[in-house]
Amino acid sequence: MLPVIGIGSSPKRKEDARFVRGRGTYVADIKRPNMLTGVFLRSEHAHAIIKSIDVSAAMAQPGVHGVYTGEDMKADNVGGLPVGWGITGKDGEPMKEPPHPPIALGKVRYVGDAVAFIVAETDEQARAAAELIEVDYEVLPAVVGLVDALKPGAPAVYDEVENNLCCDWHLGDGSAVEAAFQNAAHVASIELVNNRLIGNPLEPRAAIGEFEFATGQYTLWTTSQFPHVVRLLMGEMVLHIPQHKLRVVAPDVGGGFGVKQFHYAEEAVVTWAAGKLGRPVKWVCQRSEGFVSDAHGRDHVTEAELALDEDGKFLAMRVKTLANMGAYLSTFGPNIPTNLYAPLLSGVYVIPSIYCEVKCVFTNTVPVDAYRGAGRPEATFVVERLVDMAAREMGIDKIEIRRRNMIEREAYPYQTPMLVEYDSGDPRGCLERAEVLADVAGFEERRLEAASRGKYLGLGISTYVEACGLAPSRMAGQLGARGGLYESATVRVHPSGAVTVLIGTHNHGQGHETTFAQIVSEHLGVPFEDISVVFGDTDRVQFGMGTYGSRSLVVGGAALAKANDKVILKGRKIAAHQFEAALDDVIFEKGEFSVAGTDKKKSFVEIAGAAYVPFDYPLETLEPGLEEQAFYDPINFTYPGGAHFAEVEIDPETGIVALKRYSAVDDVGTIINPMIVEGQLQGGIAQGIGQALFEHGVYDQTSGQLLAGSFMDYCMPRADNLPNFAIEPHSTTCTHTPMGVKGCGECGTIGSPAAIISAVVDALKPFGVSHVDMPATPNHIWNIIRNSSARIAAE
């Protein structure tokens, strides 16, 4: 018999059998019979009134089947793209939520805003036709920067939104914070920018819409992290297609990182156009098009202060953040810099009171939404930069000041002043282990060696905690979610005893086919090879919220565990019937059903078979079949955390920052597959390093053109930019998830930017530098060194 491979093992990934052969099926790989190609004409202006659009020349081109504008969609009663969370301002007023038509209506608001959709037999025909569309624009002044957008007289992204302010939100006890600051021995303060990022999963987005006239059935193939949610939002609110007449399939998806967890305009447009034309319509995003149409991430400007007593103990924190929403609210846009940000400002520390204000601001830029970490890297960066700043100003070692303020393991569950209650954790344990892994003790020797070569070595630290496993529905509802965020799983046991799992999360690199199979193998004793996992198809999987916010294992895995429990119970009922024993006497262990105290036993396979060939079942109490479904709604978030150390070497002549060492100790709770978890951490850390050293979605502040609009100008981390990372788990068990899991997808991205910048600042200590904004590019660092040297020389 094939082996059971359960929790804690690292089997080779099931999905790799197709991926290493190049046999995955991504949306761009799919061809449907009679398929047409669609391309978007996008605005080259950041802000302009559309006075008229003349599509007649384009329509007359050979091969062209349709040219559609926002007016055409409006005439068809197509709705705007909905927002999944509504936040409420300080004043009790709901956020401003202007309509978001799938194709611009009347006005374009960012470079890349869709203006028309052209459908033709071939891509070349569609592109040639697009060039013939005449759009008469009245160009308006644009606003890009957060601070600029709030200034009186700034260009108005929406006439009806005063000062471009979407929402002025807050959390925390402002008066307690004021009082604490009055009594502080020291106040550390910082102003910082969290740089705009472009997620760039390697597979560009793509979508195919299909429509069957005879049945009224629509199908959308899309590069989505949450096909069921797309079906719900697009079907109910945008295109008004009944749910049973709309199938959404997200097959193999080449990375997501949040970028693919929104309902995008293009999905609605191809589906609608397929309905108009009665032929499948495919759109494949080009990378440079993705730069101006994939939602961006981060983009905050923050002022923060930390009050401390004379011993360096934290008393209170005050944070004011401006958060860029871009030109329209994306699906989760307003939720990210508020609900996923402010509640994490306590970090791993005891901070008696915290107050945070966030102004969400419209600008003439691509909409901003979740990108791996989503709000939590921003919070961690604020907290950790402030702590570094305080340590430096008070003359306390930066590791020591963290030790002094950490929440002790015994203090869990720990209620922060910012809504959330951490269930478990051991920040000190993570820190101590990370110090060893990073060889902090040997740093000084390495620093001197680098100095002998004329280089500056710096050691940086970051601790972090995150809230993930989105989301406890009750809490989410209180925070403005317009729907709960549970997950569902079905365990279908076949007559042979093999198992198909149908789950509502989506696998786009995380190895779910493997991890979820391990959970079933562990719980049901079914051989790993006999389990397959189905996801990403609304016609096959009952329902699901998808994959984001490190939720798949935490929420989806829990639903699966719950369904496994139901299968076992049902199996025991069948066994009890077969053994003619009482249900309470039937036990299930190691893949076998037996009657306690007897030698009566039946294997899982035997019971599975019996379930489908029933004889004389007590039909009132026992149905044939062995298939169970569970919906799981967590009672709390989970709180992974950890401690990271970075070591960088700076060449003062060129300003280049070379990352020499990176060490991370993370508490992700119970680990199902150590290989996959380490891979998630490695990838997450690399993306965080990308934010800290390389990546920046730079806009021209006047024209609103995206200057970093391709891989030629947006710097993606490459193999030769990174060292190997030293990663170790230091897990405490989550107290409220069925298997004690916490999630691991975002840890690396959350912990690493602050560690890197801490190291860069440490390296630049001789130049009197106290903070460096991200990304720490060579030019940026060289400027800092030059200006500081000049200042020091002048003093």
Partner: protein
């Protein structure tokens, strides 16, 4: 125009516009979708294939360049039911991939490296892969995979 070449060991003749890219010819006309397209500026390397034994970015090469040439794509490395090529096996064993999108290009680039140096070291591998972007892995396990794959290839050869 007619383009004749040897694709994955099989003589092939196709009719294509001169403006067809080699990546499109392979993916669209010949339905070998293992070769991926991840960018439009020749940076990402998801489309790397072998043209006359050398790794090239097929999104930046006209299909006509294949005339008379030998073209190999990721699909040539192992048959449907066959065992994996040692480099494919190494990527699987060492968790050298997550979403799988960059993987075909990584494999084809890595094999060109091994052709030049059967026993590459970490720094050389990282440098060699500068034209292949992976967004998922942080490259650590890709490097590990290439080292392991090269070692396995040395043993089998």
């Amino acid at each position: 125009m007619k383009i004749s070449f040897v694709l994955n060991g099989r003589p092939t003749t196709v009719e294509a516009e001169p403006s067809t890219l080699l990546s499109d010819l392979i993916r669209e006309d010949l339905s070998l979708t293992g070769t991926h397209v991840g960018c439009d500026t020749s940076q990402c390397g998801a489309c790397v294939i072998h043209l006359n034994g050398d790794s090239v970015k097929s999104c930046s090469v006209l299909a006509v360049a294949a005339e008379g040439a030998e073209v190999r794509t990721v699909e040539s490395l192992s048959g449907l039911a066959d065992e994996l090529h040692p480099m494919q096996q190494a990527f699987r064993d060492n968790h050298g991939l997550q979403c799988g999108f960059c993987t075909p290009g990584m494999l084809m680039a890595a094999l060109d490296l091994v052709k030049h140096n059967p026993d590459p070291e970490e720094a050389e591998i990282r440098e060699w892969l500068e034209g292949n972007i992976c967004r998922c892995t942080g490259y650590q396990n890709i490097v590990k995979s290439v080292i392991a794959g090269a070692a396995a290839m040395r043993q089998t050869s």
